[in-house]
Symmetry: C2
Subunit: 346 residues, 2 copies
């Protein structure tokens, strides 16, 4: 993925669990690719003075993981993530990235960047680290309860992002459910399946099951934010448990330890693919600009990848292309309200 050379990204300078030094190193790495950064944080701690392409806007207030994000973001206009969002809204940056609280970033972005015309619910997308074949998966937790037309919109948001930013031609979109048949699933899943089967503008490939997800059965997989959040954390946890068990096995006796040592170089690529830093974090879709939320525990490379992803989104006008696909598919707020396919007020 090209790096978004010449684009400006607004970076929240707070919230990196591994400290300001790691955040600053991530900013330096992204700047070295030709991305311009506006960083909202404490200048002295960041130590980014004189780094080419990086401007630090002195900011001392921020929202932590322990704060209730919506009231915190509403109450304090000068917190770093709110200022970053305002920067994008004012056109001084093309996209934003934050290594901090997902809740605070979602709240700041939703208030500051506004929704794309016709979008009812922004959704959080992640690239699942499926070896060799990343899958864009949403909603990873922004909406714990959804209606059928929200799932339909998620399908369009994901397809547009996959095509515009990830470069997948005619991405296949799957709907996560408990069986392949159209009638399997919750009420809203079944209704969304029917709507997606008739929708124009995207390649709907039907229901996918939990077992298909890590097998890369579709380019984009959509679900509600409850199932999505459980699924994402479960995949990460299972991958961690299995690799830890294999590591324990490798340490259980000297021959196995030698075997583990011999396998290590070959396993390096897999470890990189599975590492959270590789994918750059979660992407908030459905707003007039993209917001990327890094893993709080990211290293410098993870922070740089979050910034690169935001820059790439700005460069290809991911939000504008998403809006166009939504119009083409006829799934914007007005058209869904007119259709009233599942009896919901828009």
């Amino acid at each position: 993925m090209p790096a978004g050379r010449g684009v400006t990204v607004a970076l929240d300078g707070f919230g990196a669990e591994r400290g300001f030094g790691v955040l600053a190193e991530g900013a330096r790495l992204a700047a070295a690719d030709g991305i311009r950064l506006r960083v909202f944080g404490p200048p002295r701690e960041l130590g980014l003075d004189g780094v080419d392409g990086v401007e630090v806007i002195p900011t001392s207030e921020w929202v932590g993981n322990e704060d209730d994000p919506v009231p915190a973001v509403r109450a304090v206009k000068e917190v770093s993530v709110v200022r970053a969002a305002r920067d994008v809204a004012a056109g001084r940056a093309g996209a934003m990235a934050s290594p901090g609280s997902t809740g605070a970033t979602m709240a700041a972005a939703t208030f500051g960047l506004r929704r794309l015309r016709g979008v009812q619910r922004p959704a959080l997308a992640v690239r699942l680290p499926v070896p060799g074949k990343p899958v864009l998966f949403l909603d990873a937790g922004a909406n714990v309860e959804v209606r059928a037309q929200h799932l339909v919109q998620f399908a369009f948001l994901g397809a547009a992002f996959s095509e515009a930013v990830l470069g997948v031609e005619r991405p296949r979109v799957g709907l996560l459910s408990v069986g392949e048949e159209a009638g399997k699933g919750r009420e809203e899943t079944v209704a969304a399946h029917a709507l997606l089967s008739e929708a124009g503008g995207i390649e709907f490939s039907g229901n996918v099951e939990g077992s298909d997800l890590p097998a890369g059965a579709a380019d984009v997989v959509v679900t509600d934010g409850f199932t999505g959040n459980v699924a994402l954390k479960l995949m990460e946890g299972t991958a961690r448990t299995v690799t830890a068990a294999i590591r324990d096995a490798a340490r259980s006796n000297p021959l196995a330890a030698l075997g583990g040592l011999l396998m290590r170089p070959a396993l390096g690529g897999l470890r990189r693919e599975l590492h959270p830093d590789t994918t750059g974090g979660a992407i908030l879709l459905g707003l007039r600009s993209i917001a990327v939320v890094g893993h709080g525990s990211s290293g410098a490379e993870g922070i740089a990848n979050a910034v690169r992803l935001a820059a790439r989104c700005a460069e290809v006008d991911a939000a504008g292309r998403t809006a166009a696909l939504l119009r083409e598919g006829g799934v914007t707020r007005g058209s869904l309200a007119a259709g009233r396919r599942d009896g919901v007020d828009a």
Copy 2:
């Protein structure tokens, strides 16, 4: 786990994907442990004549995975799984097991065995192959949509099974959600959290997240059947994808291949723990007797383990002890209806 010596299990003789020979071999292995079996299937194909403790009841009709289970089970009284359930209801066997269609077994058991007094919805439980620390997880797919009091009942069903059959003293029960806080989750999750926090008779340890599940954070974890089915298949799929990627890495060059060879013995235990055959299958809880549904693709050891699990349930009177815990916790149909904690008719 002891094998339930002297107990009789009704075994559905159809539906083993790997054929009658594998099913018969599984029956032989279980019979060798001292379990008595009544097998409903074709005598000639099974070839179990003269095996000590095994009686074959000639049966030629069955329900396949491609049949819609509820009408099939209702329409044909002589299908193997219905006859097995009737055998248990008549007291000729203490529990039933089937290697076949989960839907057909659930339908046959629900009609034939009847629900425990006060239970609204039977649930499907599985033992997750968490290395070193199995977790009982339900509902794995019997109820795609649930209300809060169903989740509460699942907690009691799971706790009773964990204590009576798996021998866990005062099992800790977790509720699967998207955050630790009591207010996180769907409407029914939040309501169930409140009910469980006040419930007597079980150890409620609060919400657990997707990442906690493969880490063995609780002895029993409850969720709705949609999330549970997705989660179970996702865990199996992720474990498969990660181990396949490691195997590919081990084959990528001669040194890595030698490493893989040296590690193989140490990995054998892990492979056994993760193998679906080890856990014996899914367990339908909430009926007056236990029904075990094996994996369709089970080998002989998997079939034998499903029978052993059913025998163990009958031996310890899992259903009776479950009923007692439900009464003690005051979460039976009548008491929930009286409380009407979330406005649902019982």
